[in-house]
Symmetry: C2
Subunit: 196 residues, 2 copies
């Protein structure tokens, strides 16, 4: 069931009067040649290899980032969804992508760094052992140095954008070995004026 093909849908929310230009500019700037992509009223949908999808979301967040603008990006990221309900219909086939190619945006965003606050929840579906799996995921965030604290219904992370995305790439790779349909619900926040 789990084949390393991930789907995500996300919404950018720049809290600025310039939000239209920031969102549309970032979305258009992302190289989506290796993924399926669709943008509509309820956000943007990507589907492809896990590393390509995470690369595209990281690029979109990075291109939307403005040092003076508080912004959130809320995202649903999943693998192993049974049936057709998680697919999007496009002319791009994700299977034609060789598994060892570097993600399309990697070189261009490698030098972009900024601090990110993040909260996430992990939902491994269809298994009575989901609590243990959630605890394993939280443990990995501690090991990788991005854990900040727990809050009701979520785990809070803090770190450079690169370290936060490295964590999600690593933890999804780990989740794939469980061979269940799983979902990560993630909210990134940058430049919040609120105190820690």
């Amino acid at each position: 069931m789990i084949n390393g093909i991930a789907g995500c849908q996300f919404m950018l929310a720049p809290m600025s009067d310039r939000y239209v230009d920031i969102i549309l500019g970032a979305v258009a700037h992302v190289d989506t040649s290796r993924i399926e992509s669709r943008t509509g009223k309820m956000g943007t949908v990507y589907r492809g290899r896990r590393a390509d999808v995470l690369d595209a979301v990281k690029a979109c967040l990075s291109y939307a980032y403005q040092p003076d603008v508080h912004m959130t990006l809320s995202m649903t990221l999943s693998e192993g969804c049974p049936g057709a309900s998680c697919d999007i219909q496009t002319s791009v086939s994700v299977n034609k992508t060789a598994s060892d190619e570097r993600p399309a945006n990697e070189a261009q965003i490698a030098s972009i760094h900024f601090p990110v606050d993040c909260k996430f929840a992990y939902y491994p579906m269809g298994t009575p052992h989901y609590i243990e799996k959630i605890e394993d995921v939280i443990a990995l965030s501690r090991t990788m140095g991005v854990f900040k604290e727990t809050m009701p219904q979520a785990t809070v992370l803090k770190g450079d954008v690169a370290n936060i995305f490295d964590f999600f790439n690593k933890v999804m790779e780990k989740s794939e070995t469980d061979d269940v349909h799983f979902i990560y619900e993630i909210t990134f926040s940058v430049n919040s004026p609120s105190a820690d």
Copy 2:
């Protein structure tokens, strides 16, 4: 395990230079006397009777609503979370609230109406029959007249704010009878300039 006590955490994102005043003004305006409440950098947490929690979120969205501002509110809403990880520590006891009291904000927000776009996903945990349960929830959205369409990983709703919240109150009541830990991940969007 399921006792009608719900927890939620949410973040408002008004896409306006005036976002601080809009968020803090709305959060402060909500009557939280019947729920536990905490606001921090990663959003606001409420806990209490399901009807009281939904009433408080609806009030917060309604007070933040500005006819000229595009805004999203993303929320995690759950019941039956095992252990203490979904609780918040406050001095308010949710158990002292009589179950037949009207929600605290109901009278004040009854006359506030505006159209809402909404997407949601339902996650019933720990059960192999989760797909059927998700399909039941989507069917109820059709019966109640708020279903718009499906998108990858989510169901899209459309309707007046009152009808959308009526749906979540009704569908959570239904979910409680399944007696499993369940989560609704919901994003409300108002005044989007994007076409349908």
